[in-house]
Subunit: 321 residues, 2 copies
Amino acid sequence: MVVTEVPKLASAVEYFFKMGVEGKRFRPTVLLLMATALNIQIPQQTSNVIGDATLIELRERQQRVAEIMEMIHVASLLHDDVLDNSETRRGIGSLNIVMGNKLSVLAGDFLLSRACVALASLNNNEVVSIISAVLEHLVTGEIMQLTTTSDQRCSMEYYMEKTYYKTASLISNSCKAIALLAGQSTQVSTLAFEYGKNLGLAFQLIDDVLDFTGTSTSLGKGSLSDIHQGIVTAPILFAIEEFPQLHEIVSRGLENPADIELALEYLGKSRGIQRTIELAKNHAVLASAAIDSFPESSDEDVLRSRRALVDLTHIVITRTK
Amino acid sequence: MVVTEVPKLASAVEYFFKMGVEGKRFRPTVLLLMATALNIQIPQQTSNVIGDATLIELRERQQRVAEIMEMIHVASLLHDDVLDNSETRRGIGSLNIVMGNKLSVLAGDFLLSRACVALASLNNNEVVSIISAVLEHLVTGEIMQLTTTSDQRCSMEYYMEKTYYKTASLISNSCKAIALLAGQSTQVSTLAFEYGKNLGLAFQLIDDVLDFTGTSTSLGKGSLSDIHQGIVTAPILFAIEEFPQLHEIVSRGLENPADIELALEYLGKSRGIQRTIELAKNHAVLASAAIDSFPESSDEDVLRSRRALVDLTHIVITRTK
């Protein structure tokens, strides 16, 4: 879908997609498993629910949702790199440094426009609405991060809301779209949404931990990139609960290297990392529980996909990179 | 629709909308006139065509198309300014200079996401498809401009295609969407599209002339901003037809000020300006003819709106700014 008549742009948008080694393909994997996990008891006769779609057509439409989601995700990375003036992304030079802001903005816009066209071609108003809202959430999350006040910087509620918009909305709503395309009920679609939301939140919480701990679990081996950008994440927020004196330090913005040192010191004395991992585990359990509440099925493929989705909730919280 | 919870972003996106003096409000005016011109013989009983929409609801939906189009237009301006590193836009400092690339990219994304949500809320698959394609056209046009080869630089066909994508697609497809929402036939919707396309092309051709001539019709009083950016427009392309030796000069890119001087000299000796105005007039006539082919009506409001749409085709080609 990203092939275009203009080779320069094609190479720009393929830049991220081609990084097979670094890219975990996490999101598309989740969605395609979700598709198999829910493509059951398709009411072939009651064509009002899924139109005249055969199972193969349905699968193609669900795959398109996965493609759309990945295009939106990569587009947001391209624009975020311009926003952050990032110099690296996934370990290699970010596109805005390599090819200029111009092409990053344009390639992002190109992917978004292709995503919109692909979305429209699904001819499903509810899915179009859901995925459009995701676009708005991504922007909202980015704005929340850019405009954080000192009070908001110390608020766990604000942090979780921002994390939902920036990270979990895309995967959760795509899971819901997959379920809706399969003709599933509102109840089952909500379970699919809950799986995606809780998996996404667990994923991000562990990301936040790894930014401090790196690949090992001992403090201080991470890249510390968040805190050096003044971005406060869950471990610090939990540490503030234990050491109220940290509140003052964090709320003044972490622009001073001495303040960062102090914050890391308090974090080391606190249970911040541990409590963040516990919170991630809670979300992983909720994600797993959503899958367990899916309608019964005896189909081997369906059951295997569901087990894989449950396995992913464990992988997400035990990963070290 | 652009009001948001984040004051900083609201002010960014309102930045362009608030410039009532400079902004001509040309596009929304066309669309609202088109709505009145086509809201006839509404098949209230045959609800399959326009749903259960009453005339008031229909009008609201058409107004939403105008709002969506203007949001997409402003979003593209915001991103274009980042692309061009523009320092002014509509006579005032461009947002990327005033507030940074960051906010320009984000405000553009914000407007696009709001436009997508508003579009989805129309619940009309065909309209969603049409407007999504416009997003792709805008990007395609921008890419064509950024990646022009020396052969393409001298091609009238390439120029007209790029102009359609960058300028005329938005207005023509929005006109078509207005017609489709009114429950008009494919034939009438195509006429609405043809009106918008030809009006848009005429508008841009005159823009290209004014870039050379400024407010008067004598050569050399315009801002010459296109040619100084190496962007070749219709007047130069017509001049090449008269003076083939200009082809070599233009195809090497107009990066040399001496080449620009030479090109302007040939343009002055040629009928390039005149022929561009004639081409614009031809498109204005085609636009006008599309309106004349609309289904008959004796409604005063309908007829007045159609006359206004025809009047606009004259205004577009006789304007001096």
